[in-house]
């Protein structure tokens, strides 16, 4: 039991469930406001984006800190992003559109922000379904190439957010900046920067 509780995976798993727990608690207490469906849509969308950002932070954090072990938590973060993306998608299909397939198809074709959001969701499916160890082994080098799709997914998610707001772009631009920084840190100069910072940190210590 003690060993289980000391496993950070358990804690990360529990923390990742908190946004859902909050929605359920607010739903039960009438705290979702005048437009609950909008609230749920916004919330699950936001947490999908946060999940993507956390997943993308693992590699730069590893380079910065030198804790190679961090990689062990990346899959769970990625899968939770997919989990919230699924909730977001189901909210749209079920609560928002109530399975009006014709309207949904029209939306996907005609509304650029939905086209982009839907594409991002579809692109997450192969990533989630190839997240097992067996698939990693089977795909070998190609696994890594395939999973670089998350860069595109994160950018599409930000564009989806940018295009849906009426006027105030502040919040999507902040998320966008974070995603751009996390992607830039993967470029050669970004990697060198991380290594230099780590070396500098070690020297100071």
């Amino acid at each position: 039991m003690g060993a289980v509780l000391r496993n950070p995976k358990l804690w990360i798993f529990a923390i990742c469930l908190l946004p859902l727990a909050r929605l359920i608690a607010l739903g039960g207490s009438g705290g979702l406001g005048a437009n609950p469906i909008e609230f749920i849509t916004r919330s699950t969308g936001t947490w999908t984006l946060v999940g993507l950002i956390l997943t993308l932070s693992v590699t730069p954090l590893r380079r910065l800190s030198g804790y190679a072990n961090l990689i062990r938590y990346r899959r769970m973060l990625g899968l939770f992003s997919f989990f919230y993306a699924c909730l977001h998608f189901v909210t749209y299909i079920w609560l928002d559109q109530f399975f009006d397939l014709a309207a949904i198809a029209r939306d996907i074709v005609k509304r650029p922000f939905i086209t982009v959001g839907f594409s991002a969701f579809v692109l997450l499916i192969p990533l989630a379904s190839t997240s097992t160890h067996a698939m990693m082994r089977r795909l070998g080098r190609r696994w890594q190439h395939l999973h670089r799709l998350i860069y595109l997914v994160a950018l599409l998610a930000v564009v989806h957010y940018l295009w849906l707001v009426k006027k105030d772009l502040t919040s999507p631009l902040i998320y966008g900046a974070v995603v751009v920084i996390l992607l830039a840190l993967r470029l050669p100069w970004g990697v060198r920067l991380m290594q230099a910072l780590r070396g500098w940190g070690a020297a100071v210590r």
Binding site: I24, L32, N35, I37, L95, K166, D168
Partner: protein, 312 residues
Amino acid sequence: MLIRHPDAILPSEITPPEIYRERRRFMQGMGALAAGTALGTLDDAHAGIKLAGVRTSPYTLDEARTPFKDITTYNNFYEFGTGKSDPAENAGSLRTRPWTVAIEGEVRKPKTWDIDALLRLAPLEERVYRMRCVEGWSMVIPWVGFPLAELLRRVEPTGKARYVEFVSLNDPKQMPGQRSRVLDWPYVEGLRLDEAMHPLTLMTMGLYGEVLPNQNGAPIRLVVPWKYGFKSAKSIVKIRLVEKQPVSSWTRANPDEYGFYSNVNPQVDHPRWSQAKERRIGEFFKRDTLMFNGYANQVAQLYRGMDLKKYY
């Protein structure tokens, strides 16, 4: 279950406005105590006061009214922030007395009215109107006011007056959202003179029989029920009769998306989303949006012969 069907809500579960406000006052009081400052105890002092002598009008929609709580906590009023709950949280800093409304421009008798004189200008009526937001949601709201025509007739528009421009308060001290340049302040809206003179167009000072809460555009706002909500300017300080079509704030911000007319029209989509349906606040299923928000019989003749796709 997260979403309750409206039928499932017992009448006893709906908070009457008095009790809701009571709670709200209590919480504001607690908040003020906790902050150690009274913050001028929020000029909300006027809200919650019953308006005297309000008559019911034939313009009373036979549809379930949106609860007071939803009407006063789910607002678009960018002067107090861009979030839906921002106006309810921030509008306490708006001071609605003293307040004047200047009527000027192409009129024979320009005049600056004190808000309390305006309240006595014409008999107050309660009108239950649909309100359709351009974002795709709607409410049914019991407003209190009188037709704008009553006011315009008294200032005698000249032959040159073809449009009416409405200017809202511009004071970042009272309206913290104006510290952000999200729109060009002050907020400006406009109507064609015949739209402004239409009997449905209401100068509004009350909600649910009481003084209009700050977050709903106190002390005086416009309500044009057949147009998207943003056309109904709030916290008005100036009304100008003009010759040329005014440029409203949302048109200035994004001319492709928000036109001068902005009539509710299920056939003309917003460039980024459909306007065919709407979610009535409190309902689970979307309902079809009606032409001119259900007021086609009264207003369609104003637009006879116009291409409404072009004049959106």
